[in-house]
């Protein structure tokens, strides 16, 4: 059975297990939706009090918010195994068993658990997307839709890459993994606003260091058919999500190095 088919098997098993507790799963999903939705309340309150900022109205800002939350929620769905890697695999020695199977460790971790409740974030993001489309209003022609899908793909790749890095950290220390939240949740926090409102050094960090701007800012400009207030050339805007894939590739290199280290030091 090839890797994709095996992944599908893992997903089905995970979903079936959750389907056995429909009430709990629903409750979790609603809860997660509420917990993540409070952020848009904050965004709204600030726009309501201060007015438009950086050339953006609330509706336009909401599009940034929606896309980055969509990207992260999908990545979140795919990477539970990596998220709990330190506590549930390295610390318990269960990773030994993963290595004793003739399959890539990453594949096994990706299929570890697919939590339906993470759709909660996706749901509120989609709601905000609809809201933004009405408020602006956004012209969803073929180009805009394609750009959005492409941006989300790049964004998912970026966030998956970050979470793989978090798991890789666990090979060195099982205790300081919290710091990666700076990149995941912190990244969502930062990118839920249009990035041109931030000071220059931060924007550069989010373009070249952690390429959030490439997946969340530039593609949105293309969708809204606005030139970049900061002057990036128009042809760059749709290509930017490539950076997300590049980041993912680099993360997997680190992951492989981490496994090699695990094999040297045991658990």
């Amino acid at each position: 059975m090839n890797a994709l088919a095996l992944y599908g098997r893992y997903v089905v098993i995970s979903l079936r297990a959750q389907a056995q507790y429909p009430a709990a799963t629903l409750l979790l999903t609603v809860g997660h939706c509420a917990a993540t939705a409070i952020e848009i309340l904050g965004v709204f309150a600030l726009f309501d009090r201060f007015g438009p900022i950086g050339g953006w109205s609330f509706g336009e800002a909401a599009l940034f918010y929606a896309l980055v939350n969509i990207m992260f929620s999908i990545a979140d769905l795919l990477t539970r195994g990596f998220e709990v890697f330190g506590a549930d695999f390295v610390r318990t020695g269960a990773f030994d068993r993963v290595l004793l199977r003739p399959r890539a460790a990453a594949l096994q971790l990706a299929g570890h658990e697919v939590r339906l409740s993470r759709l909660g974030r996706l749901l509120q993001a989609l709601a905000v997307l609809i809201l933004a489309s009405r408020l602006v209003p956004i012209d969803w022609d073929a180009a805009a839709v394609a750009t959005a899908v492409w941006a989300v793909a790049g964004g998912v790749a970026l966030f998956v890459g970050i979470l793989v890095l978090q798991a890789t950290l666990a090979f060195w220390t099982v205790e300081s993994l919290e710091v990666v939240n700076v990149l995941t949740y912190g990244g969502v926090q930062a990118a839920q606003y249009p990035l041109n409102i931030y000071p220059a050094w931060f924007r550069r960090l989010l373009t070249f260091g952690l390429p959030l701007a490439c997946v969340a800012y530039y593609p949105v400009l293309a969708i809204l058919k606005r030139p970049d207030p900061l002057g990036a050339p128009d042809w760059l805007l749709p290509l930017a999500p490539l950076a997300g894939f590049a980041f993912l590739a680099l993360s997997f290199l680190a992951w492989r190095a981490g496994i090699a280290r695990y094999a040297s030091t045991g658990s």
């Binding site: 609603v30 952020e39 007015g51 205790e175």
Partner: protein
């Protein structure tokens, strides 16, 4: 003193346990610095557009954010994982066998858990945001000291009450977890409620003006909004005393509710045979 020993012991063991995780402490600190920085940048951007629309000065807003990060561990937004664990492994029954006031014991344990996580981070945050930032010339973005003697003096009881209130909220949450065996469900409700209404997401005055009267008197305001505004004298004199009274009042109510709930749960466990 003898009667207090088990509670002190509970507090101390938790504290020691938390100290062991040094890498975790530093990582958590870095995370929170980042968090604070992002939120400050967002505020600064909005203030840059129309500062007059703001209910407090940017300097105060910045101090508010740093205070929030420093004392984040005192925010009762997650039920204590140890309690959830004890429930799942049937440990709850054992607590009944110990010759102690169950609520008091758990309350002390909760306090220990919160303060152990808060103190190291608060100290680090004070060093970084309160001392280092001004030293490197970024004083405009720093955590400022309390605005005057009165504010400083009033902040002390406000801090104590905010901690007591947080423990009371967490206790109630823990008891509901123990009773319902549903830690996730409780957290799903607790987290958004606390984060929004305590003033952790935004200082309460930033929400639409129409909501102000309600927001100022609800129980969670005493967790963050009231004590912080006392700190930079946004709440001064009589208003500050009113704020303290609100914190104290809600603490009493929640402790009372917590004890009642615990009574009922313990009795139910007895009837079920633990």
């Amino acid at each position: 003193m003898q009667s207090v020993r088990p509670y002190l012991a509970a507090f101390r063991t938790r504290f020691q346990l938390m100290l062991q995780y040094r890498a975790a402490a530093l990582a958590g600190f870095a995370t929170q610095c980042w968090w604070g920085a992002i939120r400050i940048m967002v505020f600064a951007a909005f203030y840059g557009v129309h500062a007059a629309a703001a209910p407090i000065s940017l300097a105060d807003a910045i101090t508010y954010i740093w205070l929030g990060q420093a004392l984040l561990a005192l925010l009762p937004w997650l039920a204590d994982p140890e309690i959830g664990q004890a429930v799942r492994t049937g440990g709850v029954g054992y607590d009944r066998l110990r010759p102690l006031d169950a609520y008091g014991f758990w309350y002390a344990r909760t306090l220990g858990w919160m303060l152990a996580r808060a103190v190291p981070r608060a100290v680090l945050m004070l060093l970084a945001a309160g001392i280092v930032l001004p030293l490197v010339g970024l004083g405009a973005w720093a955590w400022r000291p309390p605005s005057g003697m009165a504010a400083a003096l009033l902040f002390l009881p406000a801090f104590v009450l905010m901690t007591a209130l947080a423990a009371a909220v967490l206790m109630l949450a823990n008891i509901v977890v123990a009773a319902s065996l549903n830690e996730r469900g409780v957290n799903a409700v607790l987290t958004p409620l606390v984060i929004v209404f305590s003033g952790s997401l935004l200082p309460l005055d930033f929400f639409p003006d129409a909501l102000r009267p309600f927001l100022h008197v609800q129980p969670f305001a005493g967790l963050v909004d009231i004590p912080f505004r006392i700190y930079f004298a946004d709440l001064g004199g009589g208003a500050a005393l009113q704020g303290l009274a609100l914190q104290a009042g809600w603490t009493v109510v929640l402790v009372g509710l917590g004890r009642l709930a615990m009574e009922r749960m313990m009795r139910r466990l007895e009837m079920q045979g633990g």
